[in-house]
Every structure is written in C-alpha cells, then in structure tokens.
Symmetry: C2
Subunit: 437 residues, 2 copies
Amino acid sequence: MFIQPRLYRGMRDILPEIMLPREELLQIVRETFRRWGFAPLATPAIEFKEILQGKYGEEAERLFYKLEHEKEDLALRYDLTVPLARAAAMYSNDLPTPFKRYQIQEVWRAERAQPRQGRFREFLQCDADIIGTDSLVADAEIIALSVGILRELGFPNAITKLNHRQLLRGLMEVAGFPANAEMDVCRIIDKMDKIGEAGVRKELIEAGFDDGKVDELFSVILSEDNGGALLAMVEDKWGHNNRISIGIKDLREFLALMERFGTPHDSLKIDLALSRGLDYYTGTIFESVVPEQPHIGSLTGGGRYDDLIGLFSKRDIPAVGITIGLDRILAALIDAEKIEGKKSPAKVLVTIFDENMVGKSIELARKLREQAIPTDIYLEPRKLGQQFAYADKLGVPFVAIMGENEVAKGVVSLKDMTSGDQREVAFGELVETLKSS
Amino acid sequence: MFIQPRLYRGMRDILPEIMLPREELLQIVRETFRRWGFAPLATPAIEFKEILQGKYGEEAERLFYKLEHEKEDLALRYDLTVPLARAAAMYSNDLPTPFKRYQIQEVWRAERAQPRQGRFREFLQCDADIIGTDSLVADAEIIALSVGILRELGFPNAITKLNHRQLLRGLMEVAGFPANAEMDVCRIIDKMDKIGEAGVRKELIEAGFDDGKVDELFSVILSEDNGGALLAMVEDKWGHNNRISIGIKDLREFLALMERFGTPHDSLKIDLALSRGLDYYTGTIFESVVPEQPHIGSLTGGGRYDDLIGLFSKRDIPAVGITIGLDRILAALIDAEKIEGKKSPAKVLVTIFDENMVGKSIELARKLREQAIPTDIYLEPRKLGQQFAYADKLGVPFVAIMGENEVAKGVVSLKDMTSGDQREVAFGELVETLKSS
C-alpha cells in the first residue's frame, strides 16, 4: 500500500529552520503581552456558523471552512475577534472590567493563498484586546503595545498609520456620499495599498459613485502631512460635521497620550485614507507597515469596535484591539534575510565513537542537559564523518567526541564546526567552555 | 439583532486562570524538548482524508471532522504522528537522519468528551519523535525525555509502564490466538484500566475467543513484578518463540540504557498487559500514569512504529515517538489543587487617581514595564475602591497609587493586596522593591 504524500493547496508545513525563529518571535510577543498585564485566553477552532457570521451573513461565509458533523452548522474560526466577543458576552459576569486578554491561535480562511507574502489559508494571529472601557487610554495602550512589540521583533522603522472611522465617514458625508454607501466606500478605499489611487478611483466610479464626489474625498484623504496641520485644515473646513469633529478630537487626545506612553512621534502617522475592510470598527483604526518592504503589506492592524460584543450580549460593551500578524512578520524577516537558517536548537552534538562508548556518551549528554546546555546525541555508533555531516547539516556549532583515549585522559575532544578547530577540554571544564562560547 | 452566545458541545474556552498555568507548563515542555536537541515542526490542521486514514480506513474515519470545500476530501488532523509521517516522507531528501522533531499543536476528535478527565474534542498534543533509526538508544532517549518532562511538570511519582508489541503478540501466539486476531485482542486488552480484568475477559469471550486461551494469556500478562524476574520466567517458558525472544532482548537492553540516561528505576515498570490501541506500533510501547490519580488516565504515551512512514514513502523508515498529553496533565494538576487561580500575569496594577494623573500614571506603568515588571494600568480615573476591587479580582499582588501628594513627595503609595499594608516607596526604589517582593 502506498499513499502519495501531499498537502492541500494553500496549506504548508513549517520546517525547523523557520520554526526555530518563529518560536523565538512568539516568545517575545507572548512575554510582551504579559509584561503589559494582558492575560491569555484560548477559544476552540470550531464554532457555530451563526456565531462566526455575526451580522455579515454571506460575506463572512465566503471565508469559512465548514464542517460536517452531527448535522450542526459548524465552521472553523476565521479571526480571533468574533470568538472573543462571543466569550466576553458568555462570561460577562465572571470577567473583570476592563478585561485585557491576549490570544495566540491559528485561524483559517478559504481564500487564495499568496505564499511569497506569507499569506496562507491557515495562519497564526496574535491578538491583544481591551474590553469594557471606551477610554482613549485603552486605544493608546493597544497601539503603544503594538509599536513596542514591532520594535522588539526587529522593526524599529515600522510606521503605524492612524485614522478614525467617524472622521472618515464624516468626510464621506461632506463629500456627498449617501449614508448607506459608506461601508462600500470604506472597503474600496481599503485597497489603496494594493491597487493604488487610480485603481481605487476606477472601482469607486464603477460602483456608481460620482466623479466629483470622489475628487472631493481624494483631495482630503490623500494629503500627505504628519497629522497636526492636516487635522487643523480638516477642522477648519468641515469642523461643523459632528462625526468629523468627534474624530478630530479623539485623534488629538490620542496623540497626546501616545507621548506619555513614550511611543516615538515618527513611528505614527495620521493617514486619512486608511479605512480597514471590516464593518465592525467604530472609532480609531490603525495598521503598521514597514516602509522598506511595501510588498509585505501590513504587519499589525486593529481598531475600536464598540458594537460587536453587543451582538451576543443584549447590551453594548466597548472594545479595542490589535492583531499582530506573526506569519507576515516572519515573511518580512525572511525577505530581509534576517533569518539564520539553523535546523536544530542544539549547541552541541555528542557523538557515539563506537559500540563500547554508547553508555559514556549518553551520560555525557545527560550531564550537559542537566546544566541547561541544549544537547543532541547521535544515537548510533556510525562513522565519525557521518556524525559530523549530521551536525553540519543541522547547523549545530559544536561536536563533542569521546573515545577510549579521551576517557583515559579525563577529557572530551571538542570540535568547533565553524572554524574546524578541534581541541581537548577537561571533562570538568566542558560545561563552562560551552556556556562561554 | 441578538445572537445567543454558545459553544459547540465537547469544545471549551480556556479562561486566564487556566491559561496562565497552561502556558507555564507549555514553556517547560518546549524548553525541555529543545534542551534534548529536538527541533520544532508545524503541520496544517487540514489534511487530505486519504492521508489521515492511512491504512485504517473507516476506523480512523469515525474520528474525523470532515470539511466541505472545493469538493476536496479534507479533514482535521486527529493526531500529530500521521502528519509527521506524511511530512517525513515528503521531505526525506532534505531532512537530516535521524530527524528529531517536536510538535505542539491542537488535534480534533469527533468523540464523546469527558470534561472532568480533561478530555475534549479539541486538545493539545506535545509530541517528540525520532525518525530514521531503529537503534534502541532512540527508544530510551524518548522515554527518558518524557520521564524528565513529567518530573519538571510536578509529577515525580509518575510511573512509565513499558511493554513490547512483539513480546505481546508472541504471547498471543503461544496462547493459541490466531494471527489475524492479534490486533483485535490488543485493542480489547488496551481497555484494562477502564473496564478492569473482568471487563476485558468478558469482551474477549464475547469476541469469540476461547476461555482457556484467555486464561493462558492472563496468567502471564497480569503477573505483578518489576521486570527482571518476570522476563526471566517468560523467557524460560516461551523463549523459543521468535517474537517473544526479540521482545525480551529489546526490553533488557532498553532497561540497561535507561540507567545511563539516569532515569530512576522506580519510575519504570514492565507491564505485559499494556497494549495501546493503535495499529501502527511495532516494538516498544509505553504509557505514563500517576498512581495517586488513577481516574485521570495516562499522561504520556507512545512507542515504536517502524512501518507507518513507509505508507507514504515506498521504503520503510523506522521511528519512535511520544505524546505528552498537556491538557490531561493540566487536569491532573487542577484535580490535585496545584493551580493557583490567578487571573492576570501582572505583578502590579498602576491606578489612575484622577483625570490630572492620567499622564503620570501612564509614565509610571511605562517605566515598570521597561524594567521587565509585568504591569497593568487601570485605564480610567475611577474610584480607588473600584480599582482595588479589580486588582483583587485578578489576583494582582500589588497596587501602586500616585496622586498629587505622592508626586510632590517623589513617592508612590504601594499597597500589598495580600496583607493589606500600604506604604510610601521612593520613586527611585519602586522597581527594586517590586522585584524583591
């Protein structure tokens, strides 16, 4: 019997050379979330379809992997925000207010995969959300946290673009778009990075919007400016519009708070063309990009969504949150050739010289592991050349050899795989030597 | 619009008070795997059904959650061993030999859930496997690793039961069971812990097996003894049987190797009634239990499976591996009341005294976080009592208060939530005070 080994398209295996740095990134993200006082939550991959659909109906359903079982309408989660909203409503009596949670889990989307940009049908999301307060301090904390994480992950030049849904919708109002068209316009504008200004203009016109209105909107949202002057100009011209005035007030207060969080001014940018595709945002929205790697897309994204939890709870519960796109971040690091390519976590390989040395070699490996040195052991008494080749293939930096000679002298021969040098190290000094090199 | 928030049965949300210790356990498992030189691998949740079925056909299919998409026959993985075998075959030219990998991911089984024993339809498996060598050193390393992990996770008294499929099948041969019945007998014997000796006897007789044969088999496999004498007795009586002789030789060599790995003798036990339900095992099999908590079931389990990868590869590739059942382990710790019940990772909550102190409080939180102290901030200037209640509910041990008075004096008022004591700490000494308490 033979079964052809193959993967369903859009899925991938992550081999050790990618998993090793990925786990290091994850550890940084997890530790940072915890250092900021966020508590971990996990929800199941499988939810009832009606929960995942929320109020979006067919649009969300296009993204689902549906499951067959017990005649229930089930599907795999496509984000972590809707399951959080469901859980926040279910446990609202037990959870603290505010509830600050992080969640690091896979999501699945039945979309076209783009492997080069790190887009697969299964991917990991790292979310942090604050539920139960409409204080702008929460929005500021969420963004300061994400800027901090990007910095720790090796993206000191990342830019977080900021906008406000009320301001954006206010601008559509004053430009004369009908109220029921606002979400459609948002979704088309959201493609600005992908299809450019001309592409967005074309799609808006095709969707039936008036050339003049599009010009009016574009004249504002495409202005390049780092915030203050732009907001003053918009306020001066359309400050009478209630939504615009709320958005401007929030963004100004928000920028002042960011100073207190110590977020560098040049890592933030007001971008009135930022709209984000999802319906549920109601206030601040944000997205981080790396200017040197525009083809990677956004590394983080999020915003305030004050109406989503209410869907499951009969009362409104305000919330704000962010997603760190870890697989996208990993793709950016690979693209920038910042990934080492090691295939093993081991610092040293203990060889097995011959059949007689099996026991001694196991004892050596045991001693090194007890001293917290990541140690591999070859497991079989093969030719030393083959054991060296194994260490070389894995990128293990040191190899320890122990034959009868070494045992008699109370030493271990230690080969440095980078330089090729080999020297004898007294048994009692081996741990120290490995720790310090 | 209101959608009733609910969970599909057999699924669960894991709230912070459980997730916090769970993440700590996971970190120990991950670090131990790495210290032993195992490299991480991840495979997708969704695989082709024919891959997951392997050679088991309908039996495996009962466990599947099937997916609807693009008319492909897809399902969620129900273990991590079959996906590993598929990947090992796909990348056999690129992977090192031996390939030592660990994998920590969720699996899904459409079975009845038993929440009290920590059995859900979605659960986390932590696997370590060694592929490409039939050396018994590999079997010994895998078991020594799992004993070491259980010790680090707080189960110094765990017992790892050992058996050998060849020995077990040899015993069935000499007891007169027909060759094609051996796997059925294995599966029934595997229920010994659940339904007891009488239950197993009843099922074997119902399945058509002869009373006398069952007696013959039981007389051997139910003998209580710690290994050596039992093996000698079996060898003496049935050493002419080739399978029995191979099994005994392996187990003896194996026990000698375990001494070299430093695994305490009393944490291992030869148990000839151990059979494990899965078809694919071919040599050593093992399972860990905690004698004080028999109702929890096995915490780890595994064995040698030399024929599975061959299904996907046209040539046989030997392998041995273990699963650490993290959710079962967590259930055992909860059951033994060894879980703290904290709901936040934060060591200190920074309160916001009033509207004027928002900026100062944010700066204080920022300073503490920069010094690696897990810090939460309340986000809103509410009544102090409410902020204390929040810290209390979360189990945050310290609360820092900073009003105009404190700022003028260059201090922070620090409340110890356990003792209730409150005292002023100089701003410059706060980090040290929190780190040392």
